[in-house]
């Protein structure tokens, strides 16, 4: 997939890709020399891609997680879920477009799927509130999760939010209560719950749909208690120190695997998920299926007990 938006560290790769595209335009006559040159450049691009993406800094991963062309929840749903029907509204106040929830089939298996949803263009971004949910988003998510639990269907949650929305209405309608309730309720739902961080995992806004039996992170994502900018603004007195905060908080999938917070890292296609939506979706679909299959035969009581224990083990202390 040709991308229009190039991050600073992606530029050398993008330049080679541009050259390849130019050469291809001239090579209609199947000039052997040009073909050789194209092959040489493709190999070079491939190598450079591998090098670049294998030694990304934490801040570069944050940038990739926010890449404006990165696939979002609905991009994955349309590629991996059949018969998808979106279910709107919290039955109490309104529908929150910052969270998408619905039912469908993962291959033939009926599942509920829920995710934060960013917008692609300005209008859509505003409508989706930049994937920053209000309380009704969390309440809608819980409603659909309860529906799934009621009928014994597994739940998939895709996390991608810069945080729960900090607004007056959000506070009036109980942002904290909505998130807290989800944490408690998700911890004892009697069906398998698979969590995948597909982009940004910021704070309680992400965790509010993030309690599950398996927690996976895609390779180029981040997850922490606050955004690097938020942390930098408070602890380093300036949001511009976000790269430093990202390092200090250790926000990448490798870090979280080491901390014992997540179970697995999902590899992305060469050049990150935004380079190949189809392949990215195929990879996470496979990973989710494997996890659901490994949990399917566990009796609900044991499943819940294991889930509570899983979170119980998180953290470090001495005694």
């Amino acid at each position: 997939m040709a991308t229009n938006y190039v991050l600073e560290f992606e530029k050398p790769i993008a330049e080679i890709e541009k050259k390849i595209a130019e050469l291809r335009e001239y090579s209609i006559s199947e000039d052997i020399e040009i073909q050789n040159e194209v092959e040489r450049l493709e190999a070079k691009a491939q190598k450079l891609r591998q090098e670049t993406y294998s030694k990304l800094t934490r801040w570069q991963r944050v940038q990739l997680a926010r890449h404006p062309e990165r696939p979002y929840t609905l991009d994955y749903i349309s590629r991996m879920i059949d018969d998808f029907v979106e279910l709107h509204g919290d039955r109490s106040f309104r529908d929150d477009p910052a969270i998408v929830s619905g039912i469908g089939k993962l291959d033939k298996m009926p599942v509920a799927i829920i995710g934060h949803q960013k917008g692609r263009d300005t209008k859509e971004k505003l409508r989706r509130n930049f994937a920053m949910p209000n309380p009704e988003g969390y309440r809608k998510a819980l409603r659909v999760m309860n529906l799934a639990a009621h009928y014994g269907r597994p739940i998939i949650c895709l996390l991608d939010t810069p945080g729960a929305y900090p607004g007056i209405g959000a506070e009036e309608r109980g942002q904290a209560e909505a998130i807290a309730r989800n944490l408690r309720e998700m911890s004892h739902l009697p069906v398998p719950i698979i969590i995948v961080v597909i982009g940004e995992g910021a704070s309680g806004g992400a965790l509010g749909i993030g309690v599950g039996d398996r927690i996976l992170m895609m390779e180029n994502t981040w997850y922490s208690v606050i955004s690097p900018e938020g942390c930098a603004a408070i602890l380093y007195r300036d949001a511009a120190n976000a790269p430093q905060a990202a390092e200090a908080m250790r926000v990448t999938p490798n870090d979280l695997l080491e901390m014992g917070v997540i179970d697995k890292i999902i590899e992305e296609p060469p050049g990150a998920a935004h380079n190949d939506y189809d392949q990215a979706a195929a990879i996470i679909k496979k990973a989710i299926k494997e996890e659901i299959e490994s949990l399917q035969d566990i009796p609900p009581k044991i499943l819940i007990k294991n889930r509570i224990e899983k979170f119980g083990k998180m953290g470090f202390w001495s005694e």
Partner: protein
């Protein structure tokens, strides 16, 4: 008086407001100059305007536990700086300083006691310890307090005072929200009552987890209670916040706390509430 003696130690947070000779204190709210001994006797509530001064964990233990019954547990659990976190100061140094300054091992204390002769597990946060923030240890101690309630089928009371999750433990802090909420889910399933008391301030990841999950949620008057901090909201929306925004009274009006209770009435209200629940005979002292 037990209460008086204990509270005296807890005046560290008010130091700035004390007038030079330490005998008089200016009320944050109405500006009245108050005689310190009188204020202590009045549970650190302004005698003129009812402003509730912040008190520390000793204060709340004296307020709620029957005299001499509080037995602390898990005070040996201490934080470690797993991430080697450093901002203007090393996290490990921040911890040392907080311990030194407060004489506490962490931002929460857990124990068993009776309140009006009813056995409870009492958990009290202490804002003086890194802003009452929740890292691994706060999460773990609260989780174990819930376990204690569950094992002994004794009601759980948590007094919250916190700026939220502790940034220096990053994702580990965040996960304590899920840990504590999950354990409260076990109490819910087992029908063991949990009363949450919100004091000034209760914000961020603490509000968005155990604090908002009480069977009954009480608040002290005028406490700041919310998810996002007022400054962040103001910055995001680019306008001033309405008067009284995110205060206890605002939460009551919007339906997120059950009642606002004056400090002097808190213990009696808790008795009234606890005796509603079908607590086992051993627990009611019969």
């Amino acid at each position: 008086m037990e209460w008086f003696k204990r509270v005296k130690r807890g005046f560290a947070t008010q130091v700035k407001k004390e007038l030079p000779n330490g005998v008089w204190i200016k009320c944050d709210h109405c500006g009245e100059i108050l005689y310190k001994k009188e204020l202590d006797r009045n549970l650190n509530v302004c005698t003129k305007c009812d402003y509730h001064f912040r008190i520390n964990s000793d204060g709340y233990i004296s307020l709620l536990a029957d005299k001499g019954t509080f037995k602390e547990f898990n005070s040996n659990i201490k934080s470690i700086d797993k991430l080697k976190f450093k901002d203007s100061k090393k996290y490990s140094d921040r911890l040392k300083d907080a311990m030194h300054k407060t004489g506490l091992s962490e931002a929460v204390r857990t124990g068993t006691c009776t309140t009006n002769k009813i056995p409870v597990v009492l958990t009290v946060m202490d804002f003086r310890f890194i802003g009452g923030s929740m890292g691994s240890v706060v999460g773990e101690k609260i989780a174990r307090a819930a376990d204690k309630s569950l094992e002994t089928r004794v009601p759980l009371i948590i007094v919250s005072a916190s700026g939220g999750a502790r940034m220096q433990e990053a994702a580990l802090s965040l996960m304590q929200m899920a840990k504590t909420s999950a354990r409260l889910g076990m109490l819910e399933d087992a029908k063991v009552p949990y009363i949450s008391i919100l004091t000034h301030p209760t914000t961020g990841g603490v509000t968005a987890s155990f604090s908002m999950l009480g069977d009954v949620i009480l608040a002290e008057p005028g406490a700041l209670i919310g998810f996002a901090g007022p400054r962040v909201i103001k910055q995001t929306i680019g306008q001033d916040l309405p008067d009284g925004f995110q205060r206890s009274e605002f939460l009551l009006e919007h339906g997120f706390v059950d009642a606002i209770i004056h400090r002097k009435d808190m213990k009696e209200r808790i008795r009234q509430i606890l005796t509603f629940f079908p607590i086992e005979d051993t627990a009611t002292g019969k």
